[in-house]
């Protein structure tokens, strides 16, 4: 079933009776060539590229709940490639390029909107650091623009430019960044994977791995044993729990990250604005809600809900930056459990167990990486080698000392 304007028109004449579910709901088969554990954005994207781009078959995605029930539906929908380090920037730029072609690729409206992101700076030292980051972005082809105070004021006049502690001196802009409809991304990849023959198996929790002499043979699930020689785990938030079933300890702590949305308002915020110094960032959804967030709560948590001190901290940051939002009423707030890794960067790698692969450690930034993460993980599963943009994400980087620490915070996950 292909989506098109003509199809919508034709269905309108038939009372919309011709639409069908976007994917099958199959029962698990006894064995597959490839099992992807985790039916979120990354797992579905992995299955899609594995089937479509790498031409593999006999693939299943195992999801504990329903497709897209984890962080792919809990993030604040921002896509960007504005990183500094050589290990990160090409990967996120690869992701950005995949975002730009995603809707045509999937024939699905993921509402990718390149409305731009602006990172604000407040001191000369920060301006220098952002100029350097902008140069790194331009070297990777991501594009960047350093905005002065007046140029910025013309674009976003509603900010408080004369805050006593953090007066705004300008911003680093990536015009190609923006937002995407997060659930739509999961559904688009799910539909694409299903149409290429991938079995998407929901309500199927992995409860153990069957290992034999250092090789993976299959997984035990709540719906019975499923055999496969290659198992890819993409369950960020719960990576430690799942990999512990294979006897592995990971360089990861699980933390809770909160997000917020107000009632719908008229269009006011043109793109994404980040106020790192005040632990606050914001954008406006197409429906009109102000979508914003800030820091993680900062302690180990699997609760999918946070505590009030961080709510206060985020809202204080928002009021300091744009006092006009003080009258907006909060519609919803929620939390998601994220893999906070020891250097703030993800892991896409094989493990010591032959046939068992890990994709995790996405910290609070996994959504923007969804296409490249899926592509790189599919590349690894299909070829056995890291994708050229994901070579810095090997797990042994910690032992070798080659960490990819964008923040420079060291092995302290709640500081990344």
């Amino acid at each position: 079933m292909k989506f098109s304007g003509f199809r919508v028109f034709a269905e309108a004449l038939k009372g919309h009776t011709g639409w069908r579910p976007l994917w099958r709901n199959p029962d698990p088969k006894p064995s597959y060539d490839y099992l992807i554990v985790g039916g979120g954005g990354h797992g579905l994207a992995t299955a899609y590229y594995l089937a479509k781009t790498f031409g593999r078959s006999r693939i299943a995605v195992l999801e504990k709940g329903w497709l897209g029930s984890g962080n792919v539906g809990r993030n604040t929908t921002i896509i960007r490639s504005n990183y500094l380090l050589a290990g990160n920037e090409p990967f996120y730029e690869f992701s950005m390029k995949l975002w730009e072609g995603l809707e045509q690729e999937l024939n699905f409206n993921a509402m990718v909107s390149q409305r731009g992101i602006i990172n604000l700076f407040h001191t000369d030292a920060q301006r220098d650091a952002f100029r350097r980051r902008g140069n790194a972005m331009m070297l990777a082809g991501a594009g960047a623009r350093l905005l002065g105070r007046e140029e910025l004021r013309a674009m976003v006049p509603f900010l408080n430019y004369d805050n006593a502690r953090f007066p705004i001196k300008g911003g680093l802009m990536q015009a190609r960044a923006g937002t995407a409809r997060h659930d739509g991304v999961a559904w688009g990849y799910a539909r694409g994977a299903d149409s290429h023959g991938v079995d998407l198996i929901q309500n199927c929790e992995v409860t153990g791995f069957r290992l034999d002499r250092g090789k993976v043979r299959g997984v035990e699930t709540s719906r019975g044993y499923i055999a496969a020689d290659k198992v890819g785990v993409a369950v960020a938030g719960s990576s430690s729990r799942v990999m512990a079933m294979a006897g592995m300890r990971l360089p990861i702590e699980s933390h809770v990250l909160q997000a917020f949305v107000t009632e719908g308002l008229k269009p006011t915020i043109p793109g994404v604005i980040t106020f790192g110094a005040g632990h606050f960032y914001i954008s406006q959804s197409d429906k009109g809600g102000l979508v914003f967030g800030g820091d993680i709560d900062g302690y180990n948590s699997y609760a999918q809900r946070g505590n009030l001190p961080v709510v206060e901290d985020v809202v204080e940051g928002g009021m300091a930056l744009m006092p006009m939002i003080g009258r907006a009423r909060l519609l919803r707030m929620w939390g998601g459990v994220v893999d906070m890794s020891m250097d703030g960067s993800p892991i896409i790698d094989r493990t010591q167990i032959e046939g068992l692969y890990l994709n995790g450690g996405w910290c609070y930034g996994g959504f923007k990486a969804t296409p490249a993460s899926g592509y790189a993980f599919a590349h690894l599963l299909a070829t056995g080698a890291s994708h050229e943009t994901a070579r810095a994400y090997r797990i042994e980087r910690f032992a070798r000392g080659h960490v990819v620490d964008e923040r420079g915070a060291g092995a302290q996950p709640n500081l990344h």
């Binding site: 300890r249 990971l250 948590s301």
Partner: protein
């Protein structure tokens, strides 16, 4: 969250900063033959359980003591707290 400080009673978690797993008390012996691998595990790897977790909190805006707090990471319920010094002494980490 309220943390049951063994000396000060119930204190708001906002007064504390969080370090992580209480196993960080067990620093490996630097002169052991496998020290490099042991330190790599010590610095980078965590159990990260869903459920009861023993973890180090520092009472920065209080009496500046280090606590070992036992907390459920699924419900955020604080199950108990003890002075990290006492925990370390009980493991004969400190000689004094």
């Amino acid at each position: 969250m309220l943390i049951t400080h063994p000396l000060l009673g119930l204190r708001d978690a906002q007064e504390f900063t969080y370090l992580g797993d209480a196993r960080l008390i067990d620093r490996p012996a630097p002169s052991a033959p496998d020290a490099e691998a042991a330190f790599c595990d010590y610095v980078f790897l965590r159990d990260n359980p869903a459920g009861v977790h023993r973890e180090l909190w520092y009472h920065e805006h209080g009496d500046r003591s280090w606590l070992v707090v036992t907390r459920d990471t699924v419900t955020h319920e604080v199950l108990g707290a003890e002075l990290a010094r006492n925990v370390a002494l009980a493991r004969t980490r400190c000689s004094k």
